[in-house]
């Protein structure tokens, strides 16, 4: 033993690198042999985490009488080595796809410190997860961000849009953006408004299960996304994700229609107010609705944006004071109202004051489906008289993103309102079918 029984060995043990094998004799004289695994945030104090030789993981409390000795590093696993860091093959085939990575579950691994997942940063790591991309030889990986999507901000939408234009200019046939799913809908809407004259598809894709799981949906989603990105009929921003719980059918959603409707299911992404544009099913892309055709180009980013905008969800008990404070400093406020687009009558004074000083206030419905309609109830008519503009069947999130875009394009409230009301990326539905929209 390296230490006499009276010495506290915690400091030494807790500093050992993961993978280091040790023989640990606990305070009760029990012997444990195994490799150090990283401590996690929820572990107790003075507990060292071991992967035992049996393969099981346990935590062993280190007492004042514990002893240990080093057994050397873990032997090389008998399994396949970690994939080498080979660069993606440059293909002679002109029809290459750019894969822009931004972080998120599709490019994350388990973090043993937190027990959660953490985004990977490098192309090499992406290829470890999806070696078939290398074999395809038609995909170039371009790391853009390494962040979870809840950490992305509107300025990142512009950065991403510029990167997309750049790879199209370099000759990409289509672009796939690997993105965290939490705010993927926001980014999809933002790119729909920002990108103009796209010569090919821009396909956002994510994963609801991290790629360190054999059951991850990341690989099959990515494969579907790459196939859709090759489709010569498509020149707009779409989201491709599982259409159901199975791994063989994927929905193609318009970027402005789509919303994450479940926290964990593979088919969390749903088009609202109608069916998705199409599906990728058993190896084939099918469109069920008219899609925007590719443009002759050149593609460009139609910035700028102005983030002095807010999205406010009305609820019973929201005081007008709280709402007014929330809207302070904003040039535009999107309300997610109840039903056809209502808020309590006590909200009217701050809304009138805001519109009077030039703030654009727009109404959407928190029902997430159906049009807002100001003429049916008196509240709606009052809101309309107060200067609130009604945004049809736009999702509240899409309306917020459009507000950020529109505020960047006009200084006068009337101009901003016109931009908001005018269809730009196929975001409004003219008709609503009685069919289930999923």
């Amino acid at each position: 033993m390296s230490d006499p029984p009276s010495t506290d060995i915690w400091n030494e043990l807790s500093g050992l690198p993961p993978g280091q094998r040790v023989e640990l004799i606990d305070s009760e004289g029990r012997t444990w042999r195994g490799a150090i695994v990283p401590r996690h945030d929820f572990s107790g104090e003075r507990v060292v985490q071991l992967k035992l030789e049996s393969g099981y993981n346990i935590g062993v409390r280190v007492g004042p009488n514990s002893r240990y000795r080093l057994l050397g590093p873990s032997p090389s696993p008998s399994g396949l080595p970690t994939r080498p860091a080979a660069p993606p093959r440059e293909s002679d085939d002109a029809s290459w796809i750019a894969l822009l990575t931004t972080g998120g579950t599709i490019a994350s691994r388990v973090d043993y410190e937190t027990g959660g997942v953490k985004p990977v940063k490098e192309e090499r790591e992406v290829l470890e997860f999806f070696p078939e991309l290398e074999a395809a030889g038609r995909v170039r990986i371009v790391p853009v961000f390494d962040r979870l999507s809840e950490d992305l901000v509107p300025d990142d939408w512009r950065v991403l849009a510029e990167k997309i234009v750049a790879v199209f200019v370099e000759g990409a046939r289509g672009v796939v953006v690997a993105h965290g799913t939490d705010t993927l809908g926001f980014t999809a809407a933002a790119l729909s408004f920002l990108l103009v004259d796209l010569p090919g598809p821009v396909v956002l894709v994510g994963a609801q299960r991290s790629p360190d799981r054999p059951s991850s949906d990341g690989a099959s989603n990515l494969r579907a996304a790459v196939e859709v990105a090759h489709d010569p009929r498509l020149g707009e921003v779409v989201v491709v994700m599982h259409a159901g719980p199975s791994d063989d059918r994927f929905a193609i959603h318009r970027g402005t229609w789509v919303r994450k409707m479940h926290s964990s299911r593979r088919d969390a992404f749903r088009s609202r107010n109608g069916p998705p544009l199409g599906v990728y099913d058993t190896g084939k892309v099918e469109f069920h609705l008219p899609v925007r055709a590719p443009s002759a180009g050149p593609p460009r980013v139609d910035g700028p944006i102005d983030t002095r905008a807010a999205l406010l969800w009305f609820y019973p008990g929201l005081t007008p004071e709280r709402a007014a404070r929330f809207a302070e400093g904003c040039r535009g406020v999107v309300l997610a109202g109840t039903g056809l687009g209502h808020v309590g009558a006590d909200q009217l004074p701050w809304i009138r004051a805001a519109t009077a000083r030039g703030v654009v206030v727009a109404m959407t419905t928190q029902c997430l489906e159906g049009n807002v309609e100001p003429f049916v109830y008196s509240t709606g008519r009052e809101l309309l008289r107060s200067g609130v503009i009604y945004l049809g069947d736009l999702l509240p999130e899409t309306a917020y993103v459009k507000m950020v875009w529109a505020l960047g394009h006009a200084s006068e409230p009337e101009e901003v309102a016109k931009l908001l009301a005018r269809d730009r990326a196929g975001e409004f539905h003219d008709r609503h079918s009685s069919k289930e929209s999923v």
Binding site: R30, I58, P77, P214, S246, R265
Partner: protein
Amino acid sequence: MKAGLEVHQQLAVGKLFCACPTELTETVSDAFTRSLRAAGGENRNVDIAAAQQASRGLVYRYEAGPSSCLVEMDEEPPHPLNEAALDTALTLALLIGAHPVDEIQVMRKIVVDGSNTTGFQRTALVAVDGRLDVGGRSYTVPTICLE
């Protein structure tokens, strides 16, 4: 020669990581298909047996019924470990003089033969070094796990 037995006992306390009952049923309310990949485990290395199995490119069809929910479908993260199950395992451990570990950890055991929708089973080592005396003979119970 040394021989050992691995004894599995289903505990009548509901499932380990969700609130579903454990009753077996023939009723099928949903079906779906999945493929499994040989993902790198904790040490980022791909197990050779898992890689071999995954390379067969099999598609697995699962049927869900009244005794399953999104957790079994791998559509929802596992709930916290069933406390009644843990209590039962610890009670058994103490009854046979086993030593509970200081901190129980649930680990992944990669199994890509389709028997788990996740591609791994979740196992926790609860206690070690038990002893069971039956019919005048003493049997060692080296490990007690929950899975």
